[in-house]
Every structure is written in structure tokens, then in C-alpha cells.
Amino acid sequence: MSWILPPSASTFASDIDFLYYVILWITGIAFVIVEVGLVVFIVKYRARPGRKAEYIQGSTKAEVIWTAIPAVTVVVIGLMSGGVWNDVKGRNSVPAGAIPYGVHAQQFEWQISYRGPDGQLGTGDDFTVRNQLHIPVNQPVVMRLTAEDVIHSLFIPAFRVKQDAMPGMTINVWFEATRVGEFEIACAELCGIGHTTMGATVTVHTADDYQRWLADRAAAADR
Amino acid sequence: MADPAMMRPPARREIGADVYNEKLGIWIFLGSEVMFFTALIGAYIIVRFGSPEFWALPNQILNVPVTAINTFLLICSSVTMVKAFASIQDGDQKKLQLYMVATVIIGAAFVGVQAYEYTTLVHEGFLPSGYAAGSHLAELAARGELPASVSVYGSSFYTMTGFHGFHVSMGVVCMVFVTWKAFKGKYTKEDHRGVEVIGLYWHFVDLVWIILFTIVYLV
């Protein structure tokens, strides 16, 4: 029964988490005010014999106040959200120099393509690994997300990454991992019978380990 | 049936719309129809802008002159419908019958021409799924004289015109009923709600066709 988000491991995760906690506090306070108010009213104004309710039609002043407060609050939340949104998903948010990977979703696998020795994605020397994404730490990476058959959704909880893979579209998803380790990838959009099994792992390496892994894999692909 | 009050809003009620229930009802229902065709036309616009290479030029596959004549027919039927309504407003039963029959015939003719158009197009190889394999049009496409695929073009064309045709057919069926009642003398100068209601529907269907003809055949 935790309201704490699981540990994060990407650069923008803290911004998203901060926004979440801001909203959690605001809505939490609103929740307490309303529910406590309800309970107080229930107790205080419960029917008692011989008493008559006060004949009140309304109060413009009160209504203006409780229209304005929520309105201002949601607009503030909106403005805060807008900035983070633009940084994470905006059209020009992908950092220059991010390492590209091809992530091709299909029922019910993630086919992840890596650049070959020529340093270009989408050329003949690329190699593809099923359900395994290996990336270097502290280095922006960008997934060129595509789908083979139906809509899938690339969900990496620890990185606070989620993006639908839409057949017929290529969508760029960028992030920068901040911790070395293994993290899970899940499919978040119902994609058929095997939806539940459509998981994968992302392994975050140190820069050296990453180069070593890449060389091993490239060699294996050559064989 | 001949109660003159029937052409007015229900008596001793708060004034809402200053029309009788059936007329208000058909206006409301047509609001729903507008949204239905909005969905179809909206989908057409999205698909067409998304995949313009699937569209042939207006005259390449569709027979625009024949459909233009058909459009003219449908407009004529709106005119006869207006005439029918005007006749019964004057209490002229004979003219009402005459114009209702004319509207039914022209409406049915429209559906007939559309059926003929569909048959011809299918015969040439234009299907809701695109070209029929091995058809005349598929050969033209293979020679590069037509778009390589017209799949979504076919899909939009048949869905939009088909649903309009369905509406016209339903209208004709209802009008046959109204005409039958007209021959039995059920409509009077004082109460001719059925004629007015079917007329409103008919003009709506006509209007939709003019929009569809423009965007499907001419653009």
C-alpha cells in the first residue's frame, strides 16, 4: 500500500516523480478537506427532531471562491506539467548525439537492433537481439520505435518511459540511464494472446563494459 | 388524424420549441445523422491526407458525368418533395399524390443509378478493398496509369456513398408509406405531419449527397 514510486534510474525520472508528488500532495489535501468536511456535516447537521434546515439557496461569493481555487490550482499544475512534457516528449527533445537503437515490437517480442561497425542504424551490418536492450550509462540513447503488427507499448518503469509503438509510424523515444544494472521492459498496451509475456530486459553497462559487450555481439553476429 | 392542433406544439405546455413533436423529433434525429456523416467524412479526410497517393484523379475511375446526372435527379426529387408539401398545404390531394409518386420514382431511380454505378465499377475491378486482381483497372495500375493501390480510396468511396445510398433507400421506403397514406387521403390541409417530416429527412439526405458528391467525385 505504498504511495512512493519505485526507485528511478533515468535523468528525467526525478522531474516526473516531483510532479507526481506535487499532485499527490495537492489532491491529498483536497481529498482530506472534502472528506473531513463531509463527515463534519454528516455529524453536525444530522436530523434532529423539531429542527428545521436553514433555507439557503446559495451564495455567489462562496461559489466564486470554490470555482477560482480549483481553477487556479489546475492551471498551475498544467503549466508545471507542460514544461516537463516538453523536455521529455517534445518534438525537439531528443538530445544531440543520442545513440540510436531500433526497437521493433511484434507479437510478442521486442526485436532490438544495434548499430554495426559502420556506426549507422538501418544499414546491413546492424545486428538484432531479441528482448535484450543493452545501453551505456550516463549517455542519452534514442529508441526508433516501430511495430510490426498491432499497437504495443514500450514501458520501462524504472526509467519512467512509456510510448506506444504504432504500426506504420516510427516514434523516437529517448532517455538517459543513471544507474548501472538490469531493468525490466514491459508491454503496456493489450496486444493479443501473449501480451502478458511480452517482457524484455534493459541492461545498463558502464561505458567500457558496453563497448566490450558490443564487440562480443558484433563478433557473434559475424559468425 | 385531421385534428388541426396536431400541427402545433402540444397544447397547454410550457413553450419549448414552437413546433409539433414529430417535427422537433426529426430535427433532433437529423442532428445525430449529421454526426454520423461527420464521422465518415472525418475519417475520409484523415485517410486522404494521410495517404494521398492512394487516390486516383476524379475522372480516372469514377464516372463523374453519370453521377452528376444522378445528383441532378436527387435535387429534382427535393423539388418535387417541396411541391408535394406545398400542395398539401393548399389542401390539394391530387397534386400531393402526384408529387409524392414523382419523388418516390426519382428517389428509386437515384438508387438504381447508384446500383448500376457500383456494378460497373466492380466489373472494372474497383472494390472496397482496392483493385480486383487481374481486372482491367489493375492492369492500368500495373502500367502506371493509375495509382499502384487504391485500397483506402475504394474503402472510403464505397462506405460513404454506400451509407448515403442506404439512407436514400430508407427514405424511399418511408416515402412509399407516406404516398400510400396520401392515396388513402390521410393528409389534410390541417394535418400533414408525415409529409413534412419525411420532407425534412429527404432534404437532409439530398444535402449530404451534394457534400459527398463534391468531396468524393470532384475533389
Binding site: 516526473i16 499527490l24 489532491t27 447537521y45 436530523a47 434546515a53 | 445525430s32 464521422a39 475519417a43 495517404s51
Partner: protein, 587 residues
Amino acid sequence: MATTALPLEKTTHATHEMSFVRKYIFSTDHKIIGIQFLLMSFVFLLFGGLMAMMMRWQLGFPDQPLPAGQLLPETMAPGGFLLPEFYNSLVTMHGTIMVFFAIMPLLVGVFGNFLIPLKIGAPDMAFPRLNMASFWIALTAGILIMAGFFVEGGAAGAGWTSYAPLSASPEWTGVVGGQQLWLVSLAVVGLASILGATNYITTVVNMRAPGMTWFRLPLSIWALFVTAILVLLAIPILSGAAIMLFFDQTIGTHFFDPTDGGQPLMWQHLFWYFGHPEVYILILPAMGFVSDIIANASRKPVFGYHSMVYALISIAFLGWIVWGHHMFMSGMNPTLGMAFMMSTMIIAVPSAIKVFNWMGTMWRGNIMFHVPMLHSVAFVSMFVIGGLSGVFMASPPVDIYFHDTYFIVAHLHYVLFGGSLFAIFGAVTFWYPKMFGKLMNPLLGKIHFWLTFVFYNLTFFPMHNLGVGGHMRRIYDPSQYEFLQPLAPLNTFITVSALLLFAAQIPFAVNFIMSWFNGEEAGENPWNDNGLEWIVPSPAPHGNFAELPIVYRGPYEFSSPLVEEDFLPQTRKLDSDTEPAAASAAE
């Protein structure tokens, strides 16, 4: 009651010598049709609930066979273990059944039919036969959609949202006829809804009794009227989309097929362009009923009646420009996402106004806690949770994490169950006397309320926490993921609560049936309410009003200083009242 006796207009209800079939089966009486919708919806509510129980069992006890699951055929649950394809069908059908065949007919079909003519002082709907057709068409659609379970490949399995291309080809789901039945059924039930909405709007506009001006309409009627407009304009969008998808499946069109020029994202736009107004279709009538009941129980006028009406209307307008917030992760242009975020934030405001106004209504009241009021207070407190949890998803960056997780499942159930269904229980209890002439048993009612309230919260509140843990929705087996394994005990807890919540509905069912036969006689006005429905006998007779009711005031004149009693019926003429113009209008 000093009303001027006026003859009623001619109605078809003049004769009471109708056969049983004409009177109760193919009835054109709005009250009978309302009750027909009520019984139909309860059956579908049961179906939908059973589907939810099966899903919960799979999530809570994945290693144990479903009790009595052996009774299900091999294609659904061999050995009592649910198959993933059957689970997907359950996910899909639970959502669809609950939205289109339980909540929507309960709110709109039942109470729209039952309340509108009674509350506005009309003898029946404007088009009684259309009304009857609407019910039978809806029932046909319900049978069609359930038939999906009995055809090869099983029922539709692409989610209640049926995103293309998953839903567009049997190749992707293994579902063959079920998806097509689903689409046909939605188009058919859409027709029923459109006919119903046409009827409601015409009736409210044209059939109001003399003196029942727009701003004397009860909020329940305002809500139903606004809802009818939303139904009228939103449902045809779904019908159009469903027909296109049906053609994609059957005659080979390519609207949603990305490999041949189609646009899968278009389905989402069409679906949610319908779908967000639909969300308000599912809550606005509930807000209306609750407004009526809270005012009645607090013995006070509704606080800020006019702003309540304007809030309804503004929700109805804003509801059309927020659909994109369902699609933040869909690949839609992120700039568009910003626009949808702002409109979504704004639409929270009228909902907030309504909540505060309900509280204002209770403030300084003299609150009776009859069973309808218990449900209404629960509605307000649960709707608040559902509304506040919506703010998380409305913020696109936070939605990155919460999209398609159990957080959204919790959110939507707080609105649809905590909101709509509590209001429905309240409304059924409140208007039961007028439907059947008997009161529902208050003790059973309270038992049902408290059990439901407790287990409802134990079921759905922890789903927020599942969502915070990242638990995806619509997954068959969360144990596949390591990060979800710590949540397994919570899943089991939710399942147990859900089973108890299901069992807690038994007192309601017993109460509903027993009271029908043995309930206490209700009398005309058991709740001392002001509405027009309470001046006629219970159950309300054919044709409703023996004489034309004339309305002198709004519906919420409780504890008025003008009279001794704490209520003042809309038709009671005080010396200071003048006859409305329409009452004396020429024949």
C-alpha cells in the same frame, strides 16, 4: 391542492383493458419500459460482475483453478485455469457490458424513461412506440454481444476500446466472429440510444407542464437532458467507427490497416471523440439523481441551483475537446498533447463546483440518513477520489508512468462504480416506491450499503497502489515480471475483497425482489419530496396524472419559510402564486 382542474390531452392510455403482453411486454408506457430496462441492466450487471470475478481470480490466485471453472468449456478454461485469450475476452466484455449494457441503460434507459415524463408533468414520452422499439433494440444488441462467447474463437478480445489493428483482423487475436458481433452489437445498441435520446430531448423541450420552466426543472432532468444531447451527438461517431472496423473485417476495406494506406490512430481519435462524451454520459445523470436526493435528505434547497445547471452544460461542451488525453502515449503530436492537457485541466473545475455545491446543500441542513442518502453521500465522497485521481493522468508527464496501469483502473472504477453505481443504488431505492408501490427494506438496504461501501473501497483503493508500483492493466499473469512480484499479495487481497463485494450485492438482490412482493406500502410521497412524481399514486398509473399538473415553483423548496412543513410541492398553489401563462392557453 388548489389546482385548476383541466382535462388532459388525448392519450393512448385512456383504456386500461390491455392484454398482459401489451401491458408488460410490448408496452409503450414509459414506466414499464423503464422497469424493463432496469431488469435487463441488472442481468447484465450480474454478467459483468461475474466476468470481473473470473478476472480477479486469475490475478489473485493464478495457481489455483477457478472454483467451478471446470464447468467452462475447454476453449475458455481447460481444467479450470483461464486461458489468456479467454481472459482478454473477459477484459473486453466486462468493460463493454458494464458501459453499454449496465451503467448506461441504468442511468439513461431506466431513469430517463421513468423520471422524465413524471417529473415534467407529461402523460408519457413524446414518442411512446419509438421508446418501446428502443428497449427491444437494446435487448437484441445485448443478446448479440453475449453470443460472442458461443461462437468459434470466443468473444471479442481487443479491450473495450478495441484499438485497431488488433481488433481489425482475427489473425492478431484469434477471435473470429466475436469481434464482429461486438461491432454489430455496438452499432445496434447505438441506434437504441439515439432513438431514446431523440425521444428524451423532444419530451423535455415540448412536453413540460404549465409552469415547469427551464429553471424549475429538477437537476435530475437537467442532467438527463444534457446527457441525451451527448448521447445523440456522440453515439453516431462510435457507430460510424464501428461500421468502418466491421467493414475492415468483413468486406476488406482498409480504414485502419497501416499496411495499405489506413490509419490505426484514426480509430483512437474516433473512439475517444465518442468516448469522452461517453464518460460524461455515464456520470452526469448520476450527478442529477444525487442532487435530488441530497436536497431531499438535507431538507434544503440545492446550493447554487443555477451554477449546478451551468456546470452540467459546461461539462457537456468541454467534454468534446478533451478526448486526446486518452492518447498522450499513442504517438499523437506532443504539442497537441499540451492543448488536450489544458482543456482537461479546465474540465475539472465544473466537477469541483458540483462537489462543493453538494456539500453546500448539506451545510446547515437537517440531514435524514435514509438509504438513498447513504448512497448519495458515498457517491460524493467516492466521486471526489475518482476526480482527484484523474488529475494525475491529466498531467501528461505523470501519465507517462500511469498510462495503462492499475492507477487508471482504480480511477475509472472510482468514477463508474464509486460514482455512477452508488448513485444508481441510491436512485433505485429512492424511486422504487414510485415504480412498484412498495418501499425497499431499510435494514437490508443499510446492510447492503455498508458492506458494499467497505468492500468497494478495499477492492479499488489498493488498485491505486498497484498502479504506483507500475502494474499494467489487462495483463493475464503479473508473475511474469519481477517488478510486479512484490505486488502479488496486494492482488490477492484485492481479489478477496472483490469476491466479498460481489457477495455483498446479495442483500440488494433479495431486497429488490422481496420488497416487490412484501414491501411496506409506500403511499404517494414517502420521502416528503416536492417533485411532480410524488403527487400521483404509487405505483404511478398509466397516463401518470389524472389532471394536468400546474407548476408554481422549483423542485427544491425544502424548509421554505412560506409554509409550516419542511417541504413545498411544486404543484401546491400558495396565495402569492400566479397561474402560469401556459395553463390558461387556448386549446
